[in-house]
């Protein structure tokens, strides 16, 4: 699919009740290893995403996810 937006990845870490911080951190790292996170050239800085969008005349696609969501 032709790129028409600057992709911006935003990760939230939401701990389940009684889940240790280490487990949440592990889930966060596992999320970053998923194919959608690795294959798309996500921009992690919102200011930079806006600069790129301006320069390339594109929209920004922001994807908000969490450690245990799709």
């Amino acid at each position: 699919m032709k790129r028409i937006a600057v992709p911006l990845l935003l990760l939230g870490v939401v701990a389940a009740l009684a889940t240790a911080q280490d487990d949440t951190e592990a889930k966060y790292k596992a999320k970053l290893e998923k194919s959608f996170a690795k294959k798309i050239p996500w921009e992690l800085d919102f200011q930079k995403a806006m600069e790129k969008a301006r320069a390339q005349k594109k929209l920004i696609m922001g994807y908000f996810t969490r450690s245990y969501a799709p």
Binding site: A5, L8, D45, L59, F64, T65
Partner: protein, 244 residues
């Protein structure tokens, strides 16, 4: 601003409200928001970002909506005297980002004679969606401060369910709600109806949710979402019989 790894369950509310998630009006996770280069929201994939069984189509359709909104925004700015174009722009903008100021502007068009009252009346069916969005925002804010307290979360859900049921007739005027494109609305209506002793109304809400689920057959989370309400409706019907 750096993208932050945030934990809403532990962040103070004032910090939470500075996050992009909160500022851009995301309603759950995952959530997809399209913005212009200035960071203004131009389209969203709602429904907790569940893309349905055809994610590429969902993204393409939403991108088309985003482009249409950006064009409408430009037309409205170029023609401030065109009340109808400006009203359409404000309505779409309100769908994306709640703003009491924008709603007042819309009503102001009528007050200054730039928009006919009957035209605004046609648009007024949109207001319940705006109201529900506000209720949902309040729910998320409350959840953020209380999510480690199951009793508080239960109370928050009960309030949202009761409020949703109260605006049921008005909400049906909104096409997206009537056409089952708003699953959270039907979920909370179902819960509110059960709490109010109206299992038949809850069954109707469940039927709407099951219609929505037809587009998400391959999504186990969507199925689990509907199953939760289904179990409550079944239990309620067994206990209560018909609506009181």
């Amino acid at each position: 601003m750096d993208v932050t790894k945030v934990n809403p369950r532990s962040m103070p509310r004032e910090e939470w409200e500075k996050t992009l998630f909160s500022q851009k009006g995301a309603r759950g996770w995952p959530y997809t928001i399209f913005m212009d280069a200035d960071g203004n929201v131009v389209a969203k994939i709602p429904l907790e970002g569940l893309f349905g069984d055809n994610p590429e189509q969902a993204v393409r359709e939403t991108l088309a909506e985003a482009r249409a909104f950006v064009d409408l925004q430009a037309q409205a700015a170029a023609h401030p005297e065109d009340a109808d174009t400006n009203a359409r722009h404000l309505l779409l903008k309100l769908k994306l980002s709640r703003s009491d100021e924008d709603w007042k502007k819309l009503e102001g068009f009528v007050a200054t004679g730039k928009l006919a009252p009957e035209t605004l009346a046609r648009y007024k069916a949109f207001k319940p969606g705006y109201v529900f969005d506000g209720m949902w925002e309040d729910f998320l804010k409350g959840y953020q401060g209380a999510s480690n307290d199951p009793e508080k979360v239960k109370a928050l859900e009960a309030k949202l369910a009761a409020d949703t049921l109260k605006m049921h007739d008005e909400a049906l005027a909104i096409e997206d709600v009537k056409n089952s494109k708003f699953p959270y609305y039907w979920n909370f209506t179902g819960m509110g109806a059960i709490a109010a002793g109206k299992p038949e109304t809850a069954k109707k809400a469940l039927a709407k949710l099951e219609t929505w689920l037809e587009g998400y057959k391959n999504n186990p989370r969507a199925k689990a979402f509907v199953d939760r309400l289904r179990k409550k409706v079944e239990a309620s019907t067994a206990d209560q019989g018909g609506d009181k």
